[in-house]
Symmetry: C2
Subunit: 258 residues, 2 copies
């Protein structure tokens, strides 16, 4: 099987032009099949603020009302996605920017209302691997933003970490998939103030314990739960790292293992 690298770039990296350039150069340097997934959360919050739209949150999760969805689609699928695609084209990577609606790549359902209505938040129901394989086979590198659709005309806001893990899982039968969660730190840190405190390996069965001990922050937990899901579906390796190390297997990073 061919190798396939799936790189998720945290939205924070796209707020700084130098960090963006470094991240795109690192992605470009990866050989073979590759897919990029990007966030863009705080850029959307900035636009909401400018437009006087209140950013609604519940327990750290965003509530996506009509106005917030429009802003998410404008920022994620518009400005962030096309800036990344144009930057990759400049380097010579033949990127194609997509949401889940494009080519029907990712179908999702509005999250059911239980205690709280998260609005237009979408939970993924399926991934169209045939179209993704067709794109990869003609040398295209899909660039996913964090927008999906319900096949009934409704766009939905879907967590970018989850998109990366779900696409990785769906393609694990066809490629040797390597999933990279990239952000501003070298890995999961024992001490958030010390970049040298990277935990080199985290076993799937250690995640809950590390969280209970407070070593894994609340924000890191969903990323690790996604990593566990991807490994269970046959993804070769999941790493948490800076973009600079995606093509260096032995660099300082956190590897999640079964």
């Amino acid at each position: 099987m061919d190798k396939l690298h799936i790189v998720k770039l945290g939205g924070g990296l796209l707020e700084d032009s130098n960090a963006t350039a470094t991240a795109l150069a690192s992605f470009h340097a990866l050989s073979g099949h590759k897919i990029l997934v990007h966030g863009g959360g705080s850029q959307a919050s900035v636009l909401c603020k400018k437009l006087g739209i209140e950013t609604k949150m519940h327990n750290g999760r965003r509530i996506t009302d009509d106005d917030a969805l429009d802003v998410a689609v404008m920022v994620y699928a518009g400005l962030a996605n096309k800036t990344v695609v144009a930057g990759l084209q400049k380097l010579g990577t033949n990127a194609i920017g997509v949401s889940g609606a494009d080519a029907n790549l990712i179908q999702a359902n509005k999250r059911p209302v239980q205690d709280i209505d998260y609005g237009w938040a979408g939970d993924i129901s399926s991934v169209n691997t045939a179209s993704l394989k067709a794109f990869l086979s003609i040398g295209l590198s899909p660039v996913f933003c964090a927008i999906t659709h319900d096949q009934n005309g409704q766009l939905l806001n879907t967590n970018a970490d989850t998109i990366a893990a779900t696409v990785a899982s769906a393609l694990a039968a066809d490629y040797k998939v390597y999933l990279h969660y990239c952000f501003g730190h070298a890995g999961v840190l024992k001490d958030i103030k010390d970049e040298n405190s990277v935990i080199p390996t985290i076993r799937v069965n250690e995640v809950d314990e590390l969280h209970h001990k407070g070593i894994i922050a609340d924000g890191m937990l969903p990323k690790l739960q996604n990593a566990v899901m991807a490994l269970h579906h046959g993804v070769q390796a999941v790493t948490i790292e800076k973009p600079e190390t995606v093509h260096e297997g032995q660099a300082l990073k956190t590897t999640v293992i079964e």
Copy 2:
């Protein structure tokens, strides 16, 4: 050769949800290969106004400064494009939304500064027909927004009428191309107040005369000049019409002929 319909939807049609639904249903009803191109001009102006960004114009042409480009990318490539794509997916047309940067489909150059600097306005230099043919061959319908790139990382704002005519011209060697300019009227009207005054045919060599006589409005002239260009490049037919008539050859519409 296979038939290929290229339908350009005026931005005005996307401002009204009923008009959008009718336009998308008409596009969906077309059989065979098809490409959609959409504008979105006044939606961008509305967002500019909300953000306190001044819309700069010169002789009826927009001047695209940094802020205006960001808004154009958010509205055209983001909200307008993904709304159209999700709407077509609902109907069962396998749409894929693209800018010129995606898959390097349309390369452009910043318009040279002569008397006036139009900012980030892009004049098309080439169309990547190989990738477009690959998409059409696997049953995808590309949906173009009015954004291109210069292959050096810069996104550019390009007139949607020109994109439609240039893509039609580039594919005329591979398909029997039918180019449809759709807007809110049944065709070019002799009397703008009378929908029954449609001019059924306009010959290429009549365009200048009709403009001088004031029958063709300034806003219609670039559309007709694009029509002439497309016919010169071997496009089978160019029509100016409502979206409802794209699949009815004999309906009331304006046909531009050599």
